[in-house]
């Protein structure tokens, strides 16, 4: 036993310098992400989403093939890189999730409450169709450059409201999004937070959502990211598909313009 302990101690001493030479925690997390990238379980959501997109569903038993995501009815390729945008038929700026709900209501005959009753899934019993559809559509935009337009007055309005929300301080902690995401080098626990006020930070952050969260075993959409940020800053619950959620998405998506879209990604 003593001999074994001595051997272990020696081994530990030999390992210690190597540990110090390995760099910061952020580097290690980056390595961890790179290792997980091959075989990202987000693909399981993508496969399920593609089947849902092509399946005849809802009271009207039609597919979502007629759904216009901004590039024409049924065009999925690259559509996500140009969302949110103004849709004349709905007379509203919509992000992907809101547009999907709209299509499910208009084309498939779901009630709005039914279409958005399960925006964020949880385990095997409560799978979210919206998350799967979002995974499929975003995967079809991988590599497409972010190109969110501010050509319609309502798009400009959404961007301005999003900007206001980003800097709006409130809640029990008197936090704004900018409190955590307005400076380089901020972090929560050991996670470095992106500085969303720089083009590089906004691009890197926005283009990596949706993402498979390893810690949750779920694929999470951008609406979920905002929802959970609101929870973390002790804001009132961000309503799914609300004008506030879309405006904030618009602000961040537009700021990511120019970067190739790179989701669905994988995160801790």
């Amino acid at each position: 036993m003593m001999v074994l302990r001595a051997a272990l101690a020696l081994a530990a001493m030999a390992i210690a310098p190597a540990l110090f030479a390995q760099g910061s925690t952020a580097d290690e997390i980056a390595k961890y992400r790179a290792a997980l990238r091959d075989g990202n379980p987000a693909e399981l959501w993508e496969v399920r989403g593609e089947a849902l997109w092509k399946q005849k569903r809802g009271p009207k038993q039609v597919t979502l093939g007629g759904c216009d995501l901004g590039l024409g009815a049924g065009v999925v390729k690259g559509a996500y890189a140009q969302l949110p945008r103004y849709f004349a038929d709905a007379d509203r700026v919509m992000d992907l999730e809101t547009r999907l709900v709209w299509c499910m209501v208009q084309l498939q005959g779901y009630t709005e409450a039914d279409a958005k009753k399960n925006p964020f899934g949880s385990g095997n019993e409560k799978k979210s169709d919206l998350e799967a559809l979002t995974a499929y559509i975003t995967s079809e935009a991988r590599g497409a450059p972010m190109k969110v337009a501010l050509s319609h007055p309502k798009e400009v309005e959404a961007y301005r409201i999003g900007e206001k929300l980003f800097f709006f301080r409130g809640g029990t902690h008197d936090f704004a999004c900018a409190t955590c995401h307005g400076e380089d080098g901020k972090r929560i626990r050991l996670q470095d937070l992106p500085n969303l006020m720089t083009a590089e930070g906004a691009q890197k952050a926005y283009t990596s959502w949706p993402a498979y969260r390893v810690s949750q075993g779920e694929l999470r959409t951008f609406e979920w990211r905002l929802y959970d940020c609101f929870r973390q800053q002790r804001f009132p619950e961000l309503v799914f598909g609300s004008d506030a959620a879309i405006a904030l998405t618009m602000y961040l998506a537009r700021n990511a313009n120019g970067a190739p879209y790179d989701g669905p990604a994988i995160k801790r």
């Binding site: 091959d38 075989g39 379980p41 693909e43 399981l44 496969v47 399920r48 385990g123 390893v214 075993g217």
Partner: protein, 103 residues
Amino acid sequence: MSDPMKIRASVVGDVTEVKVLMSHEMETGQRKDAQGQTVPAWFIQNVVVSHNGKTVLAAQWGTAVSKNPFLSFKFKGGAKGDKVSISWTDNRGDKRTDEAVIA
């Protein structure tokens, strides 16, 4: 009903590399739900991979394997167009088999 696996298989020289994503909860049996009740263990127990009817990999898994497991391995032999078949059985007796063509 379980979701399909996502399988990629490619051959370089005489070595075939197979990468599989499986959709499974992989419950450890250690967690408790909101009511304090233990969530029963539910995990993939056996994995068998065959190529042209011959088993090239057989594995026994336990609860230490993550949710939605990813399996990557190589075997000798295999040619473009061959079929690789992957089956798993979990501790509830659920089964799933999916096939892929080697690229």
